[in-house]
């Protein structure tokens, strides 16, 4: 750790090539873990005695829901740092996270619905957990459209930060909704303390898929962050160089 100047990487110009080098280290393990997770989920994990094979949807539903929530918290933290310390890169990170977070939240709602129909007999109920997750999706959409509607990037970052920080209150509401209210949605599947509530291969498949989705998210967010950096710093000479064109040589006299 010593000897590395971490502040160096707070500058977009220095972070751009570093992020490029980091992407394969997340993307390749993500691809491997998706294959392993799906294999364990479909060929090793047994059929559930209550839900039949419909339960296999949770191998994507639970990771998507978790990551949708965690990315929101991360987005709010980066947005807050970007706002408080006037750190451009941190704000760009928040914007890069928002799209993937919205995607996973939407995915958790769709897969939850696909699971609810055969299991509960309905696509949707206005249950506390489902409703608060829908609000999470709206917060993401609000953040994305608010930023898109403001031309000045730094003003867009500040406005987005306010929305992201206020909206963070929704995350614990989603998490504890199954305890605070009588919900149709079942309780927590992953428990940090106490015995797991499911058979080991089922739990293993879900955790592997969770890890795969995390690695995927990191890779995709870094790739998007690189695009955002290039877009915003387009006028800077280093960006043109990073995009592959030779730096323009200053002409010395005639």
């Amino acid at each position: 750790m010593a000897g590395i100047n971490w502040y160096k990487y707070a500058s977009p110009a220095n972070f751009y090539p570093l992020a490029g080098k980091m992407i394969p280290w997340f993307a390749i393990p993500a691809a491997i873990l998706f294959v392993v997770g799906l294999y364990v989920g479909f060929f090793v994990a047994p059929t559930d005695f209550q839900q039949g094979d419909a339960y296999r949807i949770i191998f994507i539903h639970v990771p998507a829901a978790w990551i949708g929530m965690m990315l929101y918290v991360l987005m709010a933290i980066y947005a807050a740092i970007g706002w408080a310390f006037n750190a451009r890169l941190s704000s760009m990170m928040a914007s890069a996270i928002s799209i993937t977070g919205a995607m996973f939240t939407f995915l958790s709602l769709v897969t939850g619905s696909m699971w609810g129909k055969p299991t509960w007999g309905t696509w949707w109920v206005w249950d506390a957990r489902l409703t608060s997750t829908l609000i999470l999706l709206f917060l993401y959409i609000g953040f994305i459209s608010l930023q898109a509607s403001i031309d000045d990037p730094r003003r867009a970052d500040r406005a987005g930060a306010v929305l992201a920080i206020v909206g963070v209150i929704n995350v614990p509401i989603i998490y504890f909704s199954v305890q605070w209210w009588n919900t149709l949605h079942q309780g927590a599947t992953i428990r940090l303390l106490g015995k797991p509530t499911m058979a080991p291969p089922m739990l293993a498949a879900m955790l592997i898929m969770l890890a795969a989705c995390w690695l995927y998210s990191i890779a995709v967010v870094l790739a998007r962050l690189r695009c955002t950096i290039l877009e915003r710093e387009q006028s800077a000479a280093w960006a043109a160089e990073a995009a592959g064109s030779p730096a323009r040589q200053p002409s010395w006299g005639a």
């Binding site: 039949g52 799209i99 993937t100 995607m103 696909m114 055969p118």
Partner: protein
């Protein structure tokens, strides 16, 4: 277990495969859009610098 039994998912084929299809479309779509955005951006950044910067 044979393959037709596997694909029928105990009668839940539509829901199970539907979920994974949506997942594939969303994640695959995200990656494809990002790659396209990057390609366009590199092209634009390069050509704007060749035109003497902006």
């Amino acid at each position: 277990m044979n393959w037709s039994e596997f694909f029928s998912m105990g009668g839940y084929a539509f829901y199970v495969w539907g979920s994974y299809l949506v997942t594939l479309l969303l994640m695959g779509g995200e990656v494809v859009l990002l790659l396209r955005r990057r390609k366009l951006l590199r092209h634009r950044t390069r050509s704007s610098s060749e035109a003497g910067g902006k």
